[in-house]
């Protein structure tokens, strides 16, 4: 056993259902930790434990008549490949073929619900032990039942591909489960050794691949309900605008309008089509108050280091003292802009509110929070609200808060029919929960031998975790610093004798929140650009330079391994060959070290990334092909964010409001080669989806310096280079 809690025998129960034979429902797997412990655990390990809910009954598995197993996943699928990894984990312990498993989103009324979220690159690692234990327990239940049905000794039975067989008989799992009303539940069985797994660790195809290639209607925006109407809600384009009232007389007369709904906090239209709803919405005259006529420069001023509240988040030795006197002091400042999620599927929901219950179909990363907020708004018991999660057309943190679901529900209640209500793209860009802008000051002193004697990182950022419904208010005084903002902001070079990191918290006047990898992208950009500056000052090869600053413990060893692996694989050379330079950077995120080398050219002032080599150690890769896919995607998304993307604030409005003007990497900007090397430094899975986003910005900037002599200390890099030329 792995030392984790065992599945309580009392908590298993079996129900029959329509179209299913056996439904294996499991109650509380892990009890809810006291909030403080939860937070402390997050701080200590930057890992999120699985936070299952306590409602009963909770369905994990169903066996269907055609001898397939349906797995109800508490984690949502937003592209990260979690469904596939979970299928592999369950199939291996259940002794079924991977094609016999069907993963679906757990509904809140009957499925298991993670009271935290899907995010933070923790889905696979959090379920690694519990899911396999549940699957193994179910397998043994089937074995025991089969033994009694077949009148054989339990130990003589073999289970494989969903079939139980003895020397001369065999039964499918479905046959075994048929008619069983009471099951014998064994103690949690031992998990198989890694070497015996058929699917775990193998690059099998995504379980949702075919649906996605044939355009199956699986996303929130594809959801429909019988007799459904369309809603549209007015949203202000101005920062700080608060709704105070609306004149709806013109809008009421627009074609197709069923009802205009004026609430205390918003106004919306319900009509017979989406277009009618949007047209009527444009005729509503809204009164707002509290708009703030801010501009980008005002925001930049607000987040300057020194303006917010400082929290020391890391302190070894006494860097502050050493860096106080100016002799031989090296100082650099870095900036990152406001970033938009720009996920392809806008936020929205289909809601049906009836007299004493509500059903919501939605792309959400926070099933439990979505449910609880709707229950509260509608004054319904939580168990009367059923959230049916759909596939997400991109998450990236955008769907960690879903007020749009409340609006759809309120509109539905008003017309007593199902209502579908989505954001327009302009609203997405202006009412996003943005990646906060950041400012960094880095200071260091080098010894004569080129070792860093002392180093300090000051990062100032808008909120990430704080202010989010996922982070209870009581967490703020306990934590002080925003753990999302400082993600990636700690100094990972433990052999430096004196180092500290200080996180400055700034509350911005617009919503800032989780964006894939949180502070990692900006913090790594700053720290790893600075490390490159120091290496150049010291006159030491940048890869060598980093290796000498790393401590000798387990963490340090894994970090050194990825650095060596990436340099080796890319054939790293710190010189310009055929007009191309290699830029190097490395980060550690959620215990996953990741190093990247970008091969870059600058022709006519245009930054072009030709190839990227990446070495990452996420521990055990449950599906190495999908881990690589995550690296490829994160590298290009990180390239996009660091080279091109930037939201501006103009006269109180966030702009631009459309793809194109919001510059992003397209096909032509994507590296022609992305070579990913996976190391396995642990025998359990770690974080995958976000860590590879860290190093790319700094890697590109470091290469650009070699090519142009220009140090780009502000993202987006292309705009910065244009400015300097």
């Amino acid at each position: 056993m792995t030392g984790k809690k065992k599945v309580s025998r009392r908590k298993f129960l079996i129900r029959g259902g329509i179209g299913t034979i056996g439904v294996l429902a499991v109650g509380t797997y892990l009890f809810r930790n006291p909030i403080r412990r939860k937070i402390v655990k997050v701080i200590n390990t930057v890992e999120t434990p699985y936070q299952g809910n306590t409602d009963n009954p909770i369905i994990w598995f169903e066996i269907t008549k055609d001898n397939k197993v349906v797995l109800h996943s508490p984690k949502v699928e937003m592209g990260q490949g979690t469904f596939t990894s979970l299928a592999q984990m369950a199939a291996d312990e259940l002794e079924i073929d991977i094609n016999q498993i069907n993963v679906v989103h757990a509904e809140s009324s009957s499925g298991n619900m993670d009271s935290f979220a899907t995010g933070g690159s923790t889905s696979v690692s959090a379920l690694w032990v519990p899911l396999r234990e549940l699957a193994a327990t179910m397998r043994e239940m089937i074995r025991i039942e089969a033994a009694s049905k077949m009148q054989e000794d339990v130990v003589t039975l073999k289970l494989s591909n969903g079939i139980v067989s003895s020397a001369n008989k065999s039964m499918t799992y479905a046959e075994v489960a048929t008619g069983v009303s009471e099951w014998d539940i064994p103690d949690t069985p031992e998990l198989k050794p890694l070497s015996e797994y058929k699917y775990i660790g193998k690059p099998i195809a995504r379980v949702d691949l075919v649906d996605k290639v044939f355009g199956a209607p699986i996303f929130g925006m594809d959801a429909t309900m019988p007799d459904m109407l369309y809603g549209a809600v007015v949203r202000s384009s101005k920062i700080g605008a608060k709704f105070i009232g609306a004149d709806v007389s013109k809008a009421e007369k627009m074609p197709g309008v069923v009802k205009i709904v004026v609430e205390e906090d918003f106004v919306g239209v319900v009509a017979h089509s989406m277009i009618q709803a949007e047209n009527a919405k444009s005729q509503i005259e809204v009164q707002w108050e509290g708009q703030k006529e801010l501009n980008t420069d005002d925001i930049k001023e607000m987040i300057t280091v020194g303006k917010g509240t400082p929290y020391v988040i890391q302190k070894v030795g006494n860097a502050e003292e050493i860096l106080e006197d100016g002799e031989n002091l090296i100082v650099s400042e870095y900036w990152s802009p406001i970033g938009a999620h720009a996920q392809m599927e806008p936020c929205g929901a289909v809601a049906h509110v009836e007299k004493d219950k509500a059903t919501i179909m939605i792309s959400t990363q926070v099933v439990a929070i979505t449910r609880n907020e709707i229950a509260e708004r509608l004054n319904l018991e939580r168990d009367k609200v059923n959230i049916i999660p759909t596939f997400l057309g991109g998450g990236f943190g955008r769907r960690l808060h879903t007020p749009n679901a409340i609006q759809a529900a309120v509109l539905s209640k008003a017309v007593e029919r199902p209502v579908k209500c989505f954001f327009t793209r302009k609203e997405e860009f202006q009412n996003d929960t943005f990646r906060p802008p950041t400012h960094h000051i880095l200071k260091a002193k080098l010894s004569r031998e080129g070792k860093i004697e002392a180093m300090e990182h000051n990062v100032s950022s808008g909120d990430v975790a704080f202010g989010s419904p996922m982070m209870p208010r009581i967490a703020e005084p306990i934590l002080g610093a925003d753990l999302g903002a400082w993600r990636g902001g700690l100094i990972q070079y433990g052999a430096i004798p004196n180092f500290s990191a200080i996180s400055w918290r700034v509350k911005l006047p617009f919503a800032t929140s989780w964006w894939r990898s949180l502070g990692l992208l900006a913090n790594t950009f700053a720290i790893e650009s600075f490390m490159d500056e120091l290496a150049i000052k010291a006159g030491i090869d940048p890869v060598e330079f980093r290796l000498t600053q790393i401590q000798d413990d387990e963490k340090g060893r894994r970090l050194k391994e990825v650095i060596k692996a990436v340099a080796d694989k890319a054939g790293y050379k710190d010189r310009i060959i055929d007009g191309r330079a290699m830029g190097f950077a490395v980060s550690t995120d959620v215990n996953t070290p990741c190093a990247e080398i970008a091969e870059v050219s600058v022709l006519n002032n245009v930054i072009k990334v030709h190839n990227v080599t990446c070495a990452m150690d996420p521990g055990l890769a449950v599906n190495p092909d999908q881990v690589k896919a995550q690296c490829e995607g994160a590298i290009i998304m990180g390239l996009s964010a660091s080279v091109f993307e930037k939201m501006e604030v103009e006269n109180g409005e966030l702009t631009p409001t459309i793809y194109g003007p919001y510059k992003m990497a397209l096909m032509k900007h994507a590296p022609k080669e992305i070579d990913v090397v996976l190391l396995q430094g642990t025998d359990y899975p770690g974080a995958v989806g976000e860590p590879p986003l860290g190093p790319i910005g700094a890697a590109i900037a470091n290469a650009v310096f070699r090519l142009t002599g220009k140090r780009l200390r502000e993202m987006p890099l292309q705009a910065n280079l244009d400015k300097q030329s």
């Binding site: 995504r206 355009g215 925006m221 089509s273 057309g393 991109g394 793809y659």
Partner: protein, 164 residues
């Protein structure tokens, strides 16, 4: 106004404002949800489908212009038993992540291969200009080359069969 629309080989008489973007007719009237909404302003390509074999951003294309023409959506491209070469290539390269943008990219690829059966990387860069936020571009490029190969093989086979 009544318009008769031919989608994936089937004729649909529909009662609709002729200025309605084709996308909404496809999605909300015909209930074919594979063609996606991303921006509504011809800026992302999520809504790409084929009109007489040419790629069109259907969010910004009035339904009246599709009258009398052949509209093809992702649902009409291939079947699971007999996938279109582009879909086959997408499966082989395991392209999709969230998957939302993928129908648009596949339709744009079909149109590209019709005009340029054997595209170079430059051809791909110039013609495939949709947005994928999961940034699956690396595998898409491989899949486009693979689709070109598969289409070529299919054509060769057809030529072979005709000889017999």
């Amino acid at each position: 106004m009544e318009i008769s629309l031919k989608v994936n080989g089937e004729l649909y008489p529909i009662e609709v404002d002729p200025e309605t973007p084709l996308l909404w007719v496809i999605r909300d009237v015909l209930d074919l949800k594979g063609t996606k909404f991303g921006c509504g302003k011809a800026a992302c390509g999520a809504c790409t489908l084929l009109v007489d074999g040419n790629s069109v951003r259907s969010c910004s294309f009035a339904v009246k212009f599709a009258e009398g023409k052949e509209v093809t959506t992702i649902e009409g491209l291939g079947t699971k038993e007999n996938p279109h070469p582009v879909q086959q290539a997408w499966i082989e390269e395991v392209v999709p992540q969230c998957g939302y943008c993928q129908p648009g990219f596949m339709m744009a690829t079909v149109a590209l291969l019709k005009n340029i059966p054997n595209p170079t990387d430059d051809d791909i860069d110039r013609n495939i200009i949709n947005v994928c936020r999961c940034a699956t571009y690396y595998r898409m490029r491989k899949a486009i080359h693979r689709a070109s190969e598969l289409s070529q093989q299919e054509t060769d086979k057809r030529v072979e069969n005709n000889k017999v």
